[in-house]
């Protein structure tokens, strides 16, 4: 027996499963779509792009464009958004030691909602101002919640930060509702944005989100060990040489940045940040060494599949992706809760 067995980080089986799931979701996303393309030809087209491989896929130029300019960017965007939201959710759950924490905990959703509403009202739903305004709103809301949590005393302990988030979310939601009421004609657009939608114009959105997603996910992954330390509480973390407040600031900042980026390109996609880390936790254990990397892979795969559902269930019309994640996530979450033996108590 390997004497280091109990301390293995990500098990090879779990890692392999997650990777197979991810690749499967990616291929499914490429093969299925409104236009019927022969799967064999799409695969050949993909293989053709591999180094040292040259295959004639037999796809027309237009069909090639569907694969490379429509489906692939869309699948990659779903993967980036899913990975970022799942990592941010796992990180928030660890940093606040709260199972209900999700990426929108610190008022990010309300901030982004206000930003997007203002953007849609003052420009149009298709304007590039909307994602920028949503991003700004999300970052401002989280920063306000963080500052408020510090003012409330307790040195930005988990609870005061969450309460700060509640106050900020309430205020921003109120302002958003006010703006929305004044411009009733845009309600439909705002609503569709809030439910989440992944739409791409070539690779623009992917290029927009990628820097935020990569930085956020890398910083969070680097903190996975320290998130385990936070599990023993502020004071014991201090006696282990860890400044809990600093870890919290860095993790919250990275998670917020990633979430704001994801929200800017995809709207408010719920449940990913909550369901994916919990499913991973249930299947593999409670160490963030394992939960974070697997949440990144699982989140990407989950959202790729959810997006596949969003664009094929009512094809050629599209369902908001948030409807799919909530429809699948809600019951799934109930099952996870029922079968979870280990409570979240101290």
């Amino acid at each position: 027996m390997n004497p280091e067995q109990p301390l293995r980080r990500v098990g090879p089986l779990a890692l392999a499963t997650a990777l197979v799931l991810l690749v499967g979701a990616l291929l499914a996303g490429l093969l299925v779509g409104a236009v019927d393309l022969a799967p064999g030809r799409v695969l050949a087209e993909l293989a053709d792009r591999l180094p040292w491989v040259s295959v004639d896929s037999g796809l027309t130029e237009q069909e090639t464009a569907i694969v490379w300019q429509l489906r692939l960017p869309r699948v990659i965007l779903a993967g980036l958004v899913g990975a970022t939201l799942a990592a941010a959710g796992a990180a928030y759950q660890g940093v606040f030691r709260n199972p209900l924490a999700d990426p929108y905990l610190l008022g990010v959703a309300a901030g982004a909602g206000l930003g997007a509403t203002v953007g849609i009202v003052s420009a149009s739903a298709a304007s590039p101002v909307v994602p920028a305004a949503a991003f700004a709103g999300a970052v401002v809301a989280a920063a306000l919640a963080y500052a408020l949590g510090g003012v409330a005393g307790g040195g930005r302990a988990g609870t005061t930060l969450i309460l700060g988030g509640v106050a900020v979310a309430a205020f921003f939601t109120a302002v958003q509702t006010f703006v929305q009421q004044r411009h009733a004609d845009t309600v439909r657009e705002v609503y569709s944005w809030i439910l989440g939608r992944l739409s791409t114009v070539g690779w623009t959105e992917v290029a927009l989100l990628a820097p935020y997603a990569v930085v956020s996910v890398v910083v969070l992954l680097l903190h996975r060990r320290l998130l385990d330390v936070l599990a023993v509480g502020e004071e014991e973390a201090a006696t282990l040489g860890v400044n809990a407040a600093r870890v919290r600031l860095l993790v919250v900042a990275a998670a917020t940045l990633g979430t704001a980026g994801a929200v800017a390109v995809g709207g408010l996609i719920g449940f990913v940040g909550l369901v994916v880390p919990h499913a991973v936790r249930l299947l593999t254990g409670t160490s963030y060494r394992v939960i974070l990397p697997l949440s990144v892979l699982g989140g990407a795969a989950f959202l790729m599949l959810a997006d596949l559902g969003a664009r094929s269930i009512l094809s050629p019309a599209e369902l908001p992706i948030g409807v799919i994640t909530a429809f699948v996530g809600g019951p799934f979450f109930a099952i996870v809760l029922r079968s979870s033996r280990q409570g979240w108590g101290p």
Partner: protein, 275 residues
């Protein structure tokens, strides 16, 4: 010097004084027991020495002023076993003990094979190797205490602070835990400072006792000198008898109401402890 040296240590929470100016020295390889009634400042003093709360006064750990050390360097010199450690239910014992290696790693570094070996060796040293895979939520009180001690051992510090390590353990497990601490002290010549509410165990295991009351040291020295009839009344007017065990060791025995007056201390079983 190795060990702990403190001068004029003061701890206050929002103006409420818990430790009111304590001088204290624990040498390398020495075991000192902190005794005193509830609320006398034992826990606060230990937290101050571990750098977990802000304190006034001078604290030196292993010859370095605590205030001048980074949190991480301090954690390499001093390990604290809290009275009520937070034990995340789903974390395995091995994962928990591995946390003891954190102070030895860079901010973003991962544990290496050597750290994992040390963590498992620490579990083994505390006869807890078989618990490695078990989630903390599934451990008994005695098992839990050994795993928490193992984390402190994995921390590999020359100073070990213990806050009531035997609380809520049965008498056999109390002795087991203290024997393990005694073994570690001798093997590694670490300085041990432990708050103990059981005066008999404190007298038997520690080289010296430090008696705290209302945040001040009232007496310090060998158990025989510190545990006098007058001083034992400090313990909320305890009714106790000071006895001698078969080996001549000091035994502090409680007496129930009606068998003696409040605050009365009886001496039985041979000679009165010599002062």
């Amino acid at each position: 010097m190795n060990g702990i040296r403190g001068r004029g240590i003061k701890v206050a929470y929002d103006g409420l004084v818990a430790v009111a100016g304590v001088d204290l020295t624990v040498g390398a390889g020495e075991w000192v027991a902190l005794v005193g009634p509830n609320g006398s400042g034992k826990t606060s003093l230990l937290r101050a020495l571990a750098g977990a709360v802000a304190a006034e006064g001078e604290i030196e750990i292993g010859g370095h002023a605590l205030a001048s050390l980074s949190r991480r360097r301090a954690a390499r010199l001093v390990a604290l076993v809290p009275q009520h450690p937070v034990l995340p239910g789903g974390m395995t014992a091995a994962e928990y003990v591995l946390l003891g290696r954190i102070p030895h790693l860079g901010y973003w570094a991962a544990e290496g094979a050597a750290d994992r070996r040390l963590a498992l060796a620490a579990l083994e040293r505390l006869d807890a190797a078989l618990l490695a895979d078990r989630p903390l939520g599934a451990l008994s009180g005695g098992e839990r205490q050994r795993v928490v001690l193992a984390r402190a051992v994995a921390q590999d510090a020359a100073v070990l602070l213990l806050d009531e390590p035997t609380a809520s353990l049965d008498i056999g497990h109390q002795q087991q835990v203290l024997d393990l601490v005694e073994g570690l002290r001798r093997e590694r010549s670490i300085a041990v400072l432990g708050a103990l509410h059981d005066l008999t165990l404190a007298a038997q295991y520690a080289d010296r006792l430090v008696l705290l009351d209302r945040g001040l040291v009232v007496a310090e020295g060998p158990a025989e000198m510190v545990l006098t009839p007058e001083r034992l009344t400090l313990f909320s007017g305890a009714r106790v008898a000071l006895l001698r065990g078969p080996g001549g060791e000091l035994v502090v025995s409680p007496r129930r109401d009606g068998t003696g007056r409040e605050g009365e201390v009886l001496l039985h079983g041979g000679s009165r402890p010599e002062v």
